[in-house]
Symmetry: C2
């Protein structure tokens, strides 16, 4: 059995996978390393969408249908905020605001993000460990045909419609992995890359100096789940982005981005034909259903990944 | 008629008086100088209860029954905040939070409180001018039998129950009147002290260097409405506080606190007998109903005060 499983995670896709994983291994054995490149400062609040999506899901508080935010949410504060400012395109629920207010208060008080995240995670009853990739701010900026945009402006305000020409993780080169991140990779029994956007969800994590090296050096098996199925993403702009950046929108293109450190690549059944192409990159492949419609599919995927990790 | 009426204001009592006043003179002709000694930093937000109470009332958004906050308010963010911290004794509504978030964001961006207040006031459609007494932080601290307490801790957390031994307006000596405050007093046709707690609502305003002198020097008539009726306050700890501080809980004791600058003192009918005592202080007295049950009483009081200002 696995006593220490470490998962590199973006937002919704990762949260869904983690929901299944917590049914297969004890939640306490899981360490999540979360993307903070999508973080955004709005109205003086620091919002960490990916960390929160994972946290809310593991706390059993996520809105499953909408895919982000909390269940039973209201938006009264946001409605009132519209009286004061036009910059209200980012959806902030009333209950969600409590997280951002608490986090902002502690961050301004000098607490590092990793410690603030730990307090939020504990307060919400999550038993897994959730680490930001770094305590230093890293922000994803995109060069697009609509100009240079920070991630949330691109993703929410422009609905991920602009064509992305290049991606920059501002601050990454000067960032250090948050306390526990390198250890979680080095000491894990298995390291899993969740089915998240390889460019803007996993990419920022890999851009923090030391993390990619740790993945290369760890004695744990490193397994990556393709977020691209039949050339398309389940959700979000991954496929379009892989295309416009010249990587190509295929599972094997994703595998190629991970070739220097991944041992196993998990392909959806749809992409069975890509096995040879991925194996040529030096990885073992596993083919299984990867579309997580409901909890049974999430659990089955987690089981398949762990099986590949141990066999 | 009065083209420029300036009102020194605390919270609820002042807001009620101002609601009547805006029915008697054009709202545009009113300048409110608001107490900021009650302001409090909570969860990284700067909350200005007195400024907001007046603003919400003049915007027609106040919860009239509760006496504070916004009508149709929900408290979902506060409920969620309770998961993170025990310091949630201060009631923060979801709609109200928008004000504090917006204000905090601008204050941290370097905007002075007077400018932030003006933006909030305009955004909510208030046509009167609302000025904080100062852009510099002034905080009311109370020496009580329960120890030294900041105002909101005393007032909300301890329900104004501790006996107040002394009052200190921290920062007042170093504070400057906000832009427009001294001018609003000097150039007014009438200056009115709302029926607010003379110690902790009007007191902090008078403690800002220059304001008391401006009241003394203005050519406008200065009129004060007693917040004490028959030895009691309509609401809040004014009477108990006047007693424990040694002033005595009577309208004439309030008049005595204003004797160096007030020209007219408005007594409730109940306190008709106090006329000689107040007039001995060198003020003219007006006796009229001062309890503001509904809008008609608010309007009648405003009319009586303005009549006294012109006669």
């Amino acid at each position: 059995m696995f006593e220490r499983v470490t998962v590199l995670a973006g937002g919704v896709g990762a949260a869904r996978f983690l929901e299944g994983l917590t049914q297969v291994v004890p939640p306490e054995s899981i360490t999540v390393i979360g993307n903070t490149g999508d973080d955004v400062e709005l109205h003086g609040l620091t919002i960490c969408p990916d960390l929160d999506t994972v946290t809310y899901m593991l706390a059993g508080l996520a809105d499953q249908e909408r895919g982000w935010g909390l269940a039973n949410e209201t938006f009264h504060a946001l409605e009132s905020l519209k009286r004061f400012t036009n910059e209200t395109w980012f959806q902030l629920g009333d209950r969600d605001l409590a997280t951002h207010i608490f986090r902002g208060s502690l961050l301004r008080g000098g607490f590092p993000l990793s410690e603030v995240t730990a307090r939020i995670v504990r307060s919400l009853g999550v038993r897994s460990t959730i680490l930001p990739m770094s305590d230093n701010p890293v922000r994803t900026w995109l060069e697009t045909d609509a100009g240079q945009l920070d991630f949330q402006t691109y993703f929410v305000k422009h609905r991920a419609e602009p064509v992305v020409r290049s991606v920059d993780f501002v601050g990454a080169a000067q960032a250090a992995p948050a306390p526990g991140v390198l250890e979680a990779i080095a000491q894990a029994d298995a390291v899993i890359l969740a089915p998240s956007n390889p460019v803007i969800s996993i990419g920022p994590i890999l851009a923090v100096p030391g993390i990619r090296e740790a993945l290369h050096e760890t004695s744990a098996r490193v397994l990556a789940i393709s977020p691209i199925i039949g050339g398309k993403a389940i959700k979000g702009p991954a496929a379009a982005m892989l295309n416009s950046l010249g990587y190509g929108a295929s599972a094997s293109a994703v595998a190629n981005l991970y070739r220097d450190f991944a041992d196993v690549f998990i392909l959806d059944e749809t992409d069975r034909d890509l096995r040879p192409a991925v194996e040529e990159l030096g990885m073992r492949t596993v083919v299984c259903p990867t579309i997580m419609k409901g909890l049974p599919e999430k659990i089955a995927l987690a089981q398949a990944v762990l099986e590949a990790a141990s066999s």
